[in-house]
Symmetry: C2
Subunit: 485 residues, 2 copies
């Protein structure tokens, strides 16, 4: 089958023609998200009301969930109370709560007025969980079975009561005291003999998460144990909700995007890129650039002082290599920071694995720094010999001898080029090595005090490494140019 | 329930004591991955053979899959052919293929010798799919039903033949010509009346992926449509395999990690950080640093030339701001690159949305660049007034007047400070703005020609922006210092 594509124009036309039959057919054969995307672009939202009047609410509930938040908001104002109640009834509670979090207060109260009283209580409770915790992403529509049932009895209950649950692929088994004692995969239930007690076939090696756990924690559990759904318990160890794998897929992607954004100095966005207006976008970008600019003051100060020292006055060509020194140090440490951030995010290691990680990275740093400084040494001699940079203090009349103008390098030229390249290469070695070591310590240290390493570590690293590089540069230059004068 | 934790020492002791009963109990109540992690650290791999002799293969198959690849390799050499055959039989084919891809050739042939002939054909076929395609991650153990069955008949078939399938939560429905005509969720089948034809309850709005599609593509489909499993078809549109959501969770995380690594100039690792030896790690880091170093030559060259121009000779303090200029330009563009890379990876936009994205980003760039250059202007005047940087050409005797030493700024000092700060701030504005614009064009351009934008875009950006910043700096400085002399 070719996936049927639906365009905004096509669906708008069908609504204009009031083509009930074709609209109903589309809602049966086209996935809700594709329809929602096409409909979100229809400028006159009023037209969408026709869809909710025409199509059965079992098809429109998911469709409504997937619409853009602006469109949703407008629709709620446009619909009558009874139309609204219809949609709300067929929405899953966790989706509904997500919607409510984005609506203005007056619409929230209108929505809450239109759901039955018991459900309102659940919604209010869910709205109170802190953002990005297990509680905030869990659903309360799960199926709980007592452990005294047989397989056939369990299947009968699933048939009777499972239809409005978010998942029946994982069932949660409780004992008479309502303690969670196991989980049961639906397939194991299907394969079991009818009179087999579910106590015999349930998984006793299940894991749970706590209602206050961070969603990243929950994602790691679901991923590690390849679960379809994980039980969420409160502090009394009672089952209060369930997180399903489709929500986890979104969490993993969101957390990854946040890591990338934080590493690149963007305050993580709440919405997607295109949905975030430019002024808000700018606000996510400006603070970090300014923080980095202020931190950069240390670099400016160091460079200003160094520039005025004797050795830099005699050999001004050294200044031309400053950006290369800083970029290389930053890049080298940046590599390590990225590996640390992802290692911590995917729980490959934790702050307490510090010694394992640092000993591994020290060896890597040694190899990397040696390799690049050897290469850099040769490359920088080449840069001088080809006149890419010129030692103005060694001019022969108006020209500097290079490979192009036929003037020969005397031993003085050669020694000078070696000293310049040597100074830069040695500083590169030190900068790159120290940078990688600090790039291990900073994120692991920040994670150890339970802060987000992606946000804090990188800006600090750049400044520290810049300043260290500049001071080493001055030291090494003074040494080489005074010792071997 | 508290998750039972198991340590390496504990399990090693149980093996030494040959405590069959407790080992068997552990394999029933502790998740395989926890056991595999504890056992991977046992130094004498021979001891592990005892586990495979003691515990039923239905428990050890997954355990074996989760072991470290080194340990797996050693175990295969240690086991007899019949022991090996037992494990292989209970492993899912896609896991087995993953294992084979990491084994040396002689062990691969030994493993293949020990699987039944029909399965060997499947394995060989799977081994031939290109890495990171749908074919390479799919399983061939799925359940296919003909569309003429009733619900009860379907359930009977699932009970008879579903047990060794990787998933029965999504069933694939074919017609008599073996064309895929629908998918069926197990829960819908359970809720259906026994005599209802499955044709009536199956989803007709299903989507498929192609066997050569990139795994990232597959992940986007599964995520977008919240699927448990997606059908993989070949070029004749025949169903050849299935990718399940638990594999997708790994793909999403792996792709995110690769994005972070590529953005930080690390060639993506094949294994996890701790499993990659230092020399290999270094090899993933060195090439990019050297590429960046070579690209940096343009910056060095530009700075060397600029340093020798008249305006920089008169106002050497301008040199001290060069790192700030470059860092800020790089940071500003880096923010945008990160947003582009993730937007492309999560399919929020595509290269053909170029105009939508660039018009949005141009506005953001304008706001960000204005804000930071206004701030920078004031900050740089402060830096001069407090003596963080000193205009040596304006010394009064041996000292430069600052807020600390009581010497007053004359209007000449003030004008000079304004010109210096103005030059840097205007260059910052230009650098930051241009950087953000290029940071949209580069990744979208690279993606349009189907290359990985994360790898190519960032190094090019830094160099281009550095050189543009330096040239603008020279131009603006010449203008301000000659015009307002």
């Amino acid at each position: 089958m070719e996936n049927e594509l639906i365009s905004t124009e096509q669906i708008e036309q069908l609504i204009d023609q009031k083509n009930v039959k074709e609209i109903r057919r589309l809602f049966e054969v086209v996935p809700s998200i594709d329809l929602a995307e096409a409909c979100s672009d229809i400028e006159d939202t009023k037209k969408l009301v026709f869809i909710f009047k025409t199509v059965k609410s079992e098809y429109t509930a998911e469709f409504f969930t997937e619409l853009n938040s602006d469109v949703k908001e407008e629709l709620i104002t446009l619909m009558s109370d009874s139309e609204l109640a219809d949609i709300l009834e067929s929405q899953f509670t966790d989706d509904l709560v997500d919607d409510l979090e984005e609506l203005p207060a007056n619409l929230v109260s209108r929505v809450l007025k239109n759901v039955p009283k018991e459900r309102r209580a659940t919604i209010n409770r869910l709205l109170n969980y802190k953002e990005n915790t297990a509680g905030s992403i869990m659903t309360t529509e799960f199926l709980c079975l007592v452990d005294s049932l047989t397989a056939d009895e369990a299947i009968k209950i699933i048939r009777d009561r499972g239809k409005d649950k978010e998942t029946v692929y994982t069932l949660f088994i409780i004992d008479k005291q309502r303690n969670l004692v196991g989980t049961l995969d639906l397939d194991d239930l299907i394969f079991a003999k009818g009179d087999e007690p579910i106590k015999e076939i349930m998984n006793k090696d299940f894991v749970t998460v706590h209602v206050d756990d961070d969603q990243e924690e929950v994602a790691n559990v679901v991923k590690r144990y390849d679960l379809n759904a994980v039980a969420v318990v409160n502090k009394d160890n009672r089952l209060v909700g369930v997180v399903t794998v489709d929500d986890i897929v979104d969490v993993i992607e969101q957390e990854a995007t946040e890591d990338v954004q934080a590493l690149s100095h963007v305050t993580p966005l709440e919405d997607s890129y295109l949905e975030t207006p430019s002024y808000k976008m700018a606000w996510k970008c400006i603070p970090w650039i300014i923080v980095l600019l202020i931190l950069g003051t240390f670099t400016t100060m160091a460079l200003d002082k160094i520039e005025k020292t004797a050795v830099f006055a005699i050999v001004p060509v050294l200044i031309a290599f400053v950006p290369t020194l800083m970029d290389t140090g930053g890049n080298s440490g940046g590599q390590t920071i990225a590996l640390m951030i992802r290692g911590l995010a995917t729980k490959e290691f934790e702050p307490r694995d510090f010694f394992k990680v640092i000993s591994k990275e020290a060896l890597t740093a040694l190899i990397v720094s040696s390799a690049i400084s050897v290469f850099a040494f040769l490359w920088f001699i080449m840069e001088q010999y080809t006149g890419i940079v010129t030692n103005s203090e060694l001019m022969v009349g108006d020209t500097f001898p290079t490979i192009w103008n036929g003037l020969c390098w005397t031993s003085e030229f050669f020694m000078n080029a070696v000293k310049v390249a040597g100074t830069v290469a040695l500083t590169l070695f030190a900068g790159s090595f120290i940078s990688k070591i600090i790039a291990v310590c900073l994120p692991l240290g920040v994670a150890a005090i339970k802060k987000d390493p992606a946000i804090v570590a990188q800006p600090l690293l750049t400044t520290i490494v810049d300043v260290i590089s500049l001071i080493s540069y001055l030291g090494i230059a003074s040494l080489l140019f005074t010792m071997f004068h």
